[in-house]
Amino acid sequence: MFGYVTINKMELKFKEYYSYRGYYCGLCKCLKTEYSNLSRFTLNYDMTFLILLLSSLYEPENKSYNERCMVHPTKKQLVIQNEITEYAASMNIMLSYYNMIDNWNDERDVKSLAVCKALERNFKKASLKYSEKADKIKERLQNISKLEKENTQDVDAVSNEFGHLMEEIFLYKRDEWEKILRKVGFYAGKYIYFLDAYEDMEKDEKSGSYNPFNNLEIEDKKDYARELSMLNLSFLSNEIEKLPLEQDKGIIDNIIYSGILNKINNVDKEKIK
């Protein structure tokens, strides 16, 4: 259910694109050094956004270098890392692990179980280091799973749980930004949940899997799903604009005002096909 918070590459300046790629590669490298080579396959754009946002807010010292890697063997890539990269890598591991468990429990997807087993050691390391976060993530996911089993019609209630989960992840420090960061994480999480559900409406209908939008007793469910996602995005941008962000603000704006909308539009296009 990840990868919805991303850039619109065509609208980025070259300089911005390289920075973005640098953070992304930095996260990937960090997954390798702190966890395992395999864990790099769990890499996702949502956590790159987290790094971008927190780096812009706290402006920690960056370590940048050029390096080759297995994904790009021919050309050296810019890698940017800072203290937030490690945090995001750990969050990435925990989220992916729980997501795989979820897939296994829901759909008996054997591939997910295999990845889960392979990530087990990494997960233990991450959840030991960030035990408070791990507990909260687990609690929220249990709540979601309970609501989904009850086949709830309450789209808000179930998406709020995922919102609260992301809220914990965005809360890097408990300082003067806690209130706003919590809200940014909350609305980002809700958006991810909405878009994931919106994208899967047809698939879930066929397979009979839970989907909050399919359960609604209204005529145009798709329209409602879309509107709710859009309403949520305006709340998200309203909170982000309250933060004193300057560094990489162009990339953050690109994601919030363009990349995210492209994702919604792509889901729309898929539906028309």
Partner: protein, 200 residues
Amino acid sequence: MKDPYEVLGLSRGASKDEVKSAYRKLAKKYHPDMNENNPLKDLAEEKFKEIQWAYDEIMNGTASSTNYSSGSSYSSGSYGSTNLFSVRQQIQTGRFQEALRALNSMTDRNAEWNYLMGVCYVNIGSMGQGMQFVQRAANMDPANTEYRNFLNQILNMQRSYQQRAYSYGGRGSSSADCCTQLICADCLCECLGGDLISCC
């Protein structure tokens, strides 16, 4: 009370970007982490708190999200329901779950009740349901400015997001992109806004 703009060394009417930039410069200078060995550490900390206060004051002054409720002019006499008055107090102190529990136990579901339900829902993040309640309140009592202001506040937020997104897409993108964004702005107005506009 001090003028928050003055604290940041700005004149009133400075743009949000200017406020952010001024805040950054001053915060770096006075941040406790930067002044650990400074003999005037306490003074710096005080200054830092003041800067933080000024920043929050300006940012929350125009578009407050922590509390989507005006309600300051409210007096219990004008509505006559003591129950709803205590719910208002809960909302003002951020106890939304408590307020929701109290509201759910009430049987008289008038416009005011619908409005307060909506405010609670929006504040706990259930915006979809919240907007429906506030809309119902505004339909039941079209003359009420508080309900209308609340709806307008959220509608304005949506509009400003749409506008930013639209002008962003316009920055050298293909016409197809502009179109889809126009359509999506239009859809939004129809779903939530269409009804909203009718009341303002």
